[in-house]
């Protein structure tokens, strides 16, 4: 079974702090994703990466950055946390089979509930 783990289930930080959220997957997947989930807004894509050191902005990248130095690890960074970044953060990974016709299943981690005071 694919396993996606996130460094923390719950995190409380103060406004202005630098925050690192870590995600690790064990299935050698090329693609990794960071989403945030807020009530009434569903899942929104922040960033994704399709290879080591590669990244692309999602729908809401402002206030976030990412790092992918190793294939299995994808980090989300809040340079200066703000209260409006209080949310549930979900990491996912998927295999990118370029030759396949169908889209690849995304496997999600358990999520990190971040509270910024």
């Amino acid at each position: 079974d694919v396993k996606v783990t996130q460094s923390s289930r719950y995190l409380v930080k103060r406004t202005g702090e630098k925050v690192f959220l870590e995600c690790v997957q064990d299935m050698d997947h090329e693609n990794m994703f960071w989403y945030r989930q807020d009530p009434g807004l569903g899942l929104r894509l922040i960033y994704f990466s399709y290879d080591v050191k590669m990244k692309e902005k999602g729908d809401i990248p402002e206030g976030y950055s990412v790092s992918r130095e190793k294939k299995e690890r994808f980090s989300l960074i809040l340079e200066s946390a703000s209260t409006n970044q209080t949310s549930m953060y979900l990491c996912a990974s998927s295999l990118w089979d370029v030759g396949a016709e169908s889209t690849d299943t995304q496997y999600f981690g358990p999520g990190t509930r971040l509270t910024v005071l």
């Binding site: 996606v4 807004l41 569903g42 990118w96 016709e101 889209t103 999520g111």
Partner: protein, 111 residues
């Protein structure tokens, strides 16, 4: 990316069949339709995927009409543990798996 529209919420009772319909009028030729399920305090998990007609697995069935502008997820004989949010996604592999999740449908199964 094709936008999807789903009902915000649905209620059902244990033992009933539940059908959740998703509209995707702008679906492209290469797009597949995928459904995910999310329980509280967990990440979404894959349920089923299809391109046309009908797909069935051990969890659900997916019905897709010929014009592919909508799809229906069918859950046979639901139980309380099927209470969750169900997301319909439309995407193609050319988008490198960058799918767009909508708001989903919150299904509540009552005893």
């Amino acid at each position: 990316l094709a936008k999807t529209t789903q009902p915000i919420s649905m209620d059902s009772y244990e033992g009933q069949e539940v059908n959740i319909t998703c509209s995707h009028n702008n679906i492209a030729t290469n797009d597949y339709i995928t459904w995910y399920q999310q329980f509280p305090s967990q990440g979404p998990r894959f349920i089923i995927q299809g391109y046309k007609t009908k797909v069935t697995n051990e969890v659900a069935s997916l019905f897709i009409p010929a014009d592919r502008k909508s799809s229906t997820l069918s859950l046979p004989r639901v139980s309380l543990s099927d209470t969750a949010v169900y997301y319909c996604l439309v995407d193609s592999n050319t988008n490198a798996g960058k799918s767009t999740f909508g708001d989903g449908t919150t299904l509540t199964v009552k005893p």
